[in-house]
Symmetry: C2
Subunit: 475 residues, 2 copies
């Protein structure tokens, strides 16, 4: 394919994706394929000779689309949103063409520098305290990670390194590996499973603490765990607090947890993967109260802020904590400007990295702060409207109030009723939702996800839910 | 931005990136900016109101391009290549539009299934033994990771988990964390620094073994390390062997190392990040002799196989090793098809993942096996031609023979002469190369990287190098 063939093919692809997204409402949100469907549709090996673009292009509808779960369908209400917008897609085309690998400043200065400044823009936009920003000239700063799960692991590993350094300084006679074996971290029963997984990956025990009846991790639960574990010879060192949990979008009170962490020298990582985007709106800043006590803060613009995956924003209060943790500096990566600009390879798990800040730049400029606020408020309002509609049917109950763009509901009665309801709805494939458990209560999650979702879609989803409920509980 | 505005903007962007790449030869490969250049060029915060596309678009040349290191310039000879091709860029546009997050089969079946089959295509294309392929119906299979450094970490963590399970079964009375503190892994002084870093991240000691005078890690060096460490109470469990090292593209003899690893129950991870792409050509298959003894194998199509970053191909001989290592399965990720198709979230560090197999599909089909072989052979030939040209100037010497697309050279005499030469060349910014150390010998690496590099570019680079050498050593 030469550049003129690419020009024609790219224009065709652009037209195709516009058509796909603008008409996504017409596609069944969940596919009907069975596992193994795709292998039967294509050859067993790569072709010996190159194929024409048209033969590749026509296979998108034949091979790919039958097996796509349409995350941007207005009827997709599962998990949480994944971002998607025209300006972000434009930025990715540019990022692909520049195709630099920004592991150090010299490997592409623009890639590093735009990221530093965009993380400041974004931090200011969500009202993050200046101590986290690079522009204040302190030790704070932000970096784009791939996912919130990586950010959690990076936070945990930085905390482990920092804690072991302190312990080694206090007890030079002790074996570092033995000290490491005594470390213990905390998450809650509402935290994302990525917290436990980070512990498995790092070889550190992550203790899951119970939340209160409002699904919040409380200071007294944390304090008593610290006390108990310390008495048993453990060394508490890391806490994940969540602003907007996956099951019910509940919020831990970091203003209450922060002082406990600071007093006991525990690293506080704030995971606001989903809800962090809503902090572009001032009316939600109260959830961040006390965030200045955190050591690291993370949210995913690629979830709810119209930036295509992957773009997970993470800030450190003291970037030295991470840079000094895993810095291996071979000669082939050394350069003359190492002390005057960050080499982001030290801030993350992988070595290589794409030019992802272009997406943030294009999206923030194209929408403007006001446009992003309007977007968030509209989606939250849609969730509230859905809640009102479904609440009018008294077969349903809502164990927790709607939170952000998420409504958790269930049929009154046994868990099994709601389980059967969800199974029916997803099998019909017109609306896609997933379940969660709030302590022992099974709920169905309705998350407003797509930027194409309008009131009429939410009304139709509500009708679909009620129709299937008729087969289980009489109206 | 609505879809019609996007159509116009995307067509403009497509035309821009074609112009950028087709004329990249005219840009200085290294930028002249100083650290901090970018912050001065843009506002301190995001705009309140959205901006027009044209105001964003015109800032690409004003703000970004002055700070770009042009990895696809024909004069870029640093590090190793990073892939870039028209078909891969088309696939990324589609991937962005579908915008699914493929952490489980149900989250988008096509995303998982195309990846399974493409990893089979790719494995067959490079001559990987069937035991690594999913299509053989055994326990093998491939997955796309982000980077070779992540693949190395994943391999190490899977090995740690597998080893600890075995040790716990053998010694149920022993504390797992104490056992873990005795683990030791091996890499060589020519392995990528990512191996040591994986050890830092995992909290495991990675011992760097010396290579022989041909820069190969030898079985006797490995055996004596195992013997010594075992005698000291350590538990050897993991070895990184490299096919195509970063400093000099040297090849460890895995046919010799494999039996040692198998005999001592050490996990063998083969890192072929760069050179693995060359295995599309049968004449290089001898480097893989004995690979069936490895537990995991990795190479980066995003380096040398014309696939845009990120796309790091990794195969396991027994995928259960990784799936069982870090499987945390909360209710919101469970689905009905968990046993009939892989949930790739268990195979990697992050939870989320993009639809990256589209790039492999488009590239393999568009070039065909023959086109990919032609591409690799052409680049290797260019390196050979460069070597011949520079060898005609007897001020230069070549401590190791050219290998694949890499030529390592130096000025005869003290290291400092070559250090000064490289500094001058990179300051002039017409050609970009980086150094390495082969044991104590400083060398300059000339890697053929860009798909735009032609013989005339290589000739011009050679002249540029010789011209700067004139200022250091008389001709």
């Amino acid at each position: 394919m030469d550049s003129e063939q690419f020009r024609a093919a790219a224009h065709q692809m652009v037209d195709y994706v516009i058509d796909y997204l603008d008409n996504i409402r017409n596609r069944r949100v969940l596919p009907t394929v069975e596992p193994g469907y795709l292998r039967k549709l294509i050859p067993e090996e790569a072709p010996e000779q190159g194929e024409t673009w048209q033969s590749i292009f026509q296979d998108i509808e034949r091979v790919i689309m039958p097996g796509v779960t349409h995350w941007h369908s207005p009827n997709f209400h599962a998990y949480y949103p994944t971002g998607n917008s025209w300006p972000a897609m434009l930025a990715d085309i540019l990022s692909d063409a520049i195709g630099c690998v920004g592991f150090s400043w010299i490997a592409s200065p623009a890639c590093t520098e735009l990221e530093v400044v965009m993380m400041d823009w974004l931090g200011k936009l969500i009202g993050l305290p200046p101590v986290f920003l690079a522009s204040t000239g302190g030790k704070g700063g932000g970096v784009i990670q791939g996912t919130a799960s990586e950010a959690m692991l990076v936070g945990l590993l930085a905390a482990r390194s920092k804690t072991l350094k302190r312990l080694k300084a206090e007890h030079p006679e002790k074996d570092e590996k033995i000290l490491a074996s005594r470390l213990i971290a905390y998450s809650s029963d509402q935290s994302h499973s990525a917290a436990e997984r980070a512990g498995l990956l790092a070889g550190v025990h992550v203790r899951v603490l119970p939340t209160d009846d409002q699904l919040h991790l409380r200071a007294d639960a944390l304090q008593s765990a610290i006390k108990e574990d310390t008495a048993n010879g453990k060394i508490p060192f890391f806490v994940v607090a969540t602003l907007g949990t996956t099951p019910a979008c509940s919020f831990d009170d970091i203003d209450e947890l922060g002082p406990v962490c600071n007093d006991h020298l525990l690293w506080l990582h704030v995971d606001a993967a989903y809800a962090g985007s809503a902090f572009v709106c001032e009316e939600y800043h109260h959830y961040m109260k006390g965030v200045e006590r955190a050591d690291s803060f993370n949210f995913n613009p690629h979830k709810w802020l119209l930036v295509n995956f992957d773009c997970s924003a993470m800030w450190f209060k003291d970037a030295d904590d991470i840079v000094s943790a895993f810095n291996v500096d071979p000669i082939f990566l050394k350069h003359d400007h190492q002390n005057s600009a960050p080499d982001f390879r030290h801030w993350q798990i992988p070595l290589g990295r794409r030019f992802r800040s272009l997406k943030l730049w294009f999206v923030m400029r194209s929408y403007g702060a006001q446009g992003l606020r309007d977007y968030i408020r509209k989606q939250i309002h849609l969730a509230e409207q859905f809640h009102q509609m479904l609440a009018a049917d008294d077969r349903f109950e809502f164990p927790v109030p709607p939170s952000m763009g998420l409504v958790c509901f269930r049929l009154k009665g046994e868990n099994s009723l709601s389980e059967r309801l969800l199974k029916r709805i997803n099998e019909a494939g017109q609306v896609y939702m997933i379940p969660a458990k709030l302590h022992e209560t099974y709920i169905i999650r309705f998350a407003v996800c797509s930027r194409y979702t309008e009131l009429s879609d939410v009304q139709a989803s509500c009708e679909e839910i009620r129709r299937h409920a008729n087969d289980i509980v009489s109206a």
